[in-house]
Symmetry: C2
Subunit: 204 residues, 2 copies
């Protein structure tokens, strides 16, 4: 058993899926404080050691479980960011993005992730490094693009602009009376327009 | 005992203070899920009925405890908003505001409040109604002021702009490597400048 730990044994993708699903469910239901490796293993129908062989701790495991839940179509590819105008990228992605962020699952995950940021900084750190930072780099590239075109003010700090966009949307979905997908679409357009990344088309 | 419930008995302000402090501490330490009326009463050194006579539930109690923690100097008076230019109000309030939002206590409270928004909506609803909504109305008045002056774009939705400002700051303090008060001051200025509420003075 000790010898197999961390190497040698082939990984069963179905086991990984069951563990990640159990981690996500328990995180949404109880938060990081209420989800232990033991409970995650039990719900996934595996032994504790099976989980420990794959992840160094529950924060790493939960961060990966959350990452895999956010659809990939929310983020443009690096090639798109290079080749397309920000307005074009945004128009293509907006409807799916609005639907995702207005969903009950996204709201619940956002609340739990924000909620654990101070009490369990290792979870936010893992999520930040693997999930958020690569996406922020793409968003910063889009903003530099738009700054060169003059649509976004040249002296603005891209990190601040990204926080204003992400922060507005995440704060909005945690407020009482959260928006449906149609209202979220209008809302995100208003946010992007204020930054300078989006202009309403004449017919809309 | 039953006859005294909810009326008649004069309230002791020291008891109120002890209960509010215990509620705040337990909320920060354990979140709303880990703080019960029973535990709050025990930590405050009073009986459960003493708490129930004063608050209808733990969400109302925690919301009031959090409200009393946020310093009043973070918010301009309605008279100031009427009489002063937004730039002037912001310049006067910014240093104290930056210090407050960069404090560990504000970070912890923000995380817990956001974290409970979906699992315990009654807490966010109480906090929203008593604390956030009156402040949003003042901020909206400042924004309308600035829209009339032409500093903020006339077609922008004040609710979206408020979310962008509040959302950026709350998201920033939950990120890994949170800012100190000096960095927070620079950051809030950048946020306000992007909205159009603030112009750096020539010497700064």
């Amino acid at each position: 058993m000790t010898a197999a730990r961390g190497r040698g044994r082939p990984r069963d993708p179905q086991t990984d899926t069951a563990i990640l699903r159990a981690a996500l469910e328990l995180f949404i239901e109880r938060g990081v404080e209420g989800a232990s490796i033991e409970q995650i293993a039990k719900r996934a129908g595996v032994g504790k050691l099976t989980v420990y062989r794959r992840w160094s701790g529950k924060e790493e495991l939960i961060a990966q479980a959350v990452e895999q839940t956010i659809p990939r179509d929310l983020v443009p590819s690096p090639e798109d960011v290079e080749a397309m105008a920000p307005q074009e990228i945004i128009e293509r992605m907006l409807p799916a993005a609005a639907e995702t962020v207005a969903s009950p699952e996204f709201r619940a995950l956002t609340a739990r992730m924000m909620g654990s940021a101070v009490s369990h900084p290792a979870l936010m750190a893992a999520y930040w490094k693997h999930h958020i930072l690569p996406r922020r780099e793409l968003a910063a590239a889009m903003l530099r693009h738009a700054q060169k075109d003059g649509a976004v003010s040249a002296d603005a700090d891209p990190d601040v602009l990204i926080d204003m966009m992400v922060g507005a949307v995440t704060w909005r979905v945690l407020q009482p009376d959260p928006p449906d997908a149609a209202e979220m679409l209008r809302y995100i357009k208003a946010v992007y327009q204020q930054i300078g990344l989006y202009r309403p088309s004449p017919e809309s």
